[in-house]
Amino acid sequence: MTIATLIWLLPFPPLLAFGLIVLFTNRNKALSHTLAVGAALLSWLGSMIIFWQALRVHNFSQNPFVSSINWLPILNQWLSIGVWVDPLTVATLFFVAWTILMIFIYSVGYHNFGQPKGDHDQAGLQPHGATVNNEYGHAHKVPSIEPLYSRFFAFIALFAFGMYTLVISDNLLTLFVGWEIMGLCSYLLIGFWYAKPSARAAAIKAFLTTRVGDVVMLLGIVYLYSQTGSLSYRTIFSKEILHQLTTVTAPGNFLGLSAAGLIGILLFIGTVGKSAQWPLHVWLPDAMEGPTPVSAMIHAATMVSAGVYMVIRAFPLLSAGWVEGGSLTPAMAVMAFIGTFTALFAATIALAQNDIKRVLAFSTISQLGFMIAALGVGAYVAAAFHLVTHAFFKALLFLGSGSIIHGMEHGVLHTNEEVDPQNMFNMGGLRTKMPLTFWTFVIGGFSLSGVPLITAGFWSKDEILAEAFTYKHWIVFITLALTTLLTAFYTMRQITLTFMGKPRTESAHHAQESSWTMTFPLIILGVLAISAGWVGIPSDFWGLTLPHSWFHEFVGSTLMEHPAAVAFSWFPFLTSVVVSFGGLILGWLVYRNVQEGAVDPLQKPLGWIYTTLKNKYYFDELYNLLFVRPAYWIADTFTNQWLDRGIIDGFLHGVARVAFSIGGIFRNYVDKPVINGFGDFIGEGVKKFGRRFRVIQTGRVQQYMLMALIVAFGTLFYYLIFVVRP
């Protein structure tokens, strides 16, 4: 099998699994998850093979694995689709494969495979636990298996298909296809427990919000196609096309943008939707309604990364006409601004969240902001690098949180007390209860907050900061530094509240470590969350000359002109060290001893700011006021009451009345006498005729035949004698 074939086949095992599960093995849970995990494993294997092949190819970026076929005939040419694996793809493929596989495995444990059926579980609700009798005959509650177990695996399998498609596709169209498939899956999975009203709402919210972005992105794609007549990377990222795009101005000289600028911005808005950047970030926190593996996979590791992957992929287009260190293109400027702002904004919100998953959700938003900002300042490699590392440690964190929640739920089931197993203030002291989760979570957290030298997060973040510093984007630099501080702070807050101190509730007392299917992925991801950083250590780090940064060489070579690795300088390095440690220590100091039933110690000093943060700057309310309410109003009052009922119906009724009267006239003076008369006459005629001639219909086949023959021969002979002869 050639490598091209392998790449083509890469997405299909999950799709196959999806189909099989949905159509056939839905009943059988074990078989279903075996299928799904097996498919994930296959795809993972394929990705790894591709990875090694890619490493063995010399000068890979100049001759990537490419293969394409004709797809749609357009006028006289073909719209071709295909696969395109270059260094960037390989890097993405690497983390996608790992995270997806890990999360598939994790889901098995998370949905309590092997546990008994719930007592009163129903489809579309979280399992409520089952009562079993232990060997002493005491009834006690244990977690119960997810009612829609198979369906879950079908969905994530479909999702995996979408992701692989997106990553390996060689043109924006198939990328968009994968993009939308993932959108659908995200909708399905957020609303996985569809009996919960909040889940339904969250699902719809996510779907609509991302849709806004997607529509704009589609506009961008269409405009691009209309300009270049193609969508494949090879074409649209070629020098002359980019040049042409920069020279052409947007229609109607829109904001004085060039076509490249406009397309870039449009595409970027798509990313804003997908990667939950401000102002379209509102859906991501609510998406935490879905099961934790979903949050981990879709809303942390892969799908939201897909947005960033897309802009990284489109970087040549966005940065068309930009030279390193030069002034930013409009698109880049926008990205820089949005990214930076989002990073800070989300980080601040994360400070005041008590739900363990929501904290992570906001931190995700802010980290994505990091990447966007990095791209905005042209730190191509740094962005990609951070994408990879973030995928690992954020997946790790989410899975860890999932494991924590799982443990808490165990406790809650054990002691039937009414506490929210996701609220960090109900936890504490889990360090001893769930050691594996604790250590892995700490690794993830430190990586997130960028603890120097060891963790992966440090290297990527440091590179971003370094680039921002080197190209003298001070605002970006400062903001991101500040954000890093906050990040470290809330990470430490999380760790402290969750694991340190004494258990604050009974449930926390009785929490226990999760099954190996959940912890094993944690360990793997933990290892990756550390080691993924080492590939990107700058060559002249600390003045000593290391073998130069492999990742930089590798991914950087994707671009046409190889971006220069920034020279090492002490200032950003020290900054990141200071902020990360500072944040961590602060967090530890503040949340060291939170007592049972205590409120957040920040609440008093910050006051109304805290409430603002807690309510996410009232963004939901704002959108509600701006969009939702007006929409309702237009729909109900305006359209329904006035337009429809009032004007249109009124008019129609008028017409109807007129028509009715006219019809009456016709009926009485035309129809009844004339037409009916005629019709009846015909009917009568036919009836009489029939009465005369029905005697010949005896139902005797032979007589029919006889008559038929008589007529036939009569005609024939007549024809022969009188027509042919003379």
């Binding site: 139902g699 005797r700 032979q702």
Partner: protein, 103 residues
């Protein structure tokens, strides 16, 4: 062989007419089917005769004859099955008695 084509044609015409007479005049439905068989045979004779006399090298005549065989076989099978089931319900096979056009 000194037999002119016309003899075959006349023969098959005669056979055909006899069959037709049978179809039209017999009472018993099975006998009617027999008549049909005769007609089909007449047709086959014609086909083969034309093949032999007009274009021995071109096999179409025989091919069609084969197809006529198939048709005859299936026709008999279905026809007899119908007759038998009618006989079961109506207890008759006289074509004239089967004149109510529904069952």
């Amino acid at each position: 062989m000194m037999v002119p084509l016309s003899w075959y044609l006349i023969f098959s015409a005669a056979l055909f007419c006899v069959g037709l007479f049978g179809v039209l005049s017999r009472k018993n439905a099975v006998a009617i089917l027999m008549g049909i068989e005769l007609m089909l045979n007449a047709v086959n004779v014609n086909l083969i005769a034309f093949w032999r006399y007009r274009s021995p090298s071109f096999i179409a005549g025989q091919a069609f004859a084969i197809i006529v065989f198939a048709v005859a076989a299936s026709e008999v099978a279905v026809g007899l099955a119908l007759i038998i089931s009618i006989y079961r319900r109506r207890n008759t096979v006289v074509a004239d008695e089967i004149d109510m056009m529904k069952f």
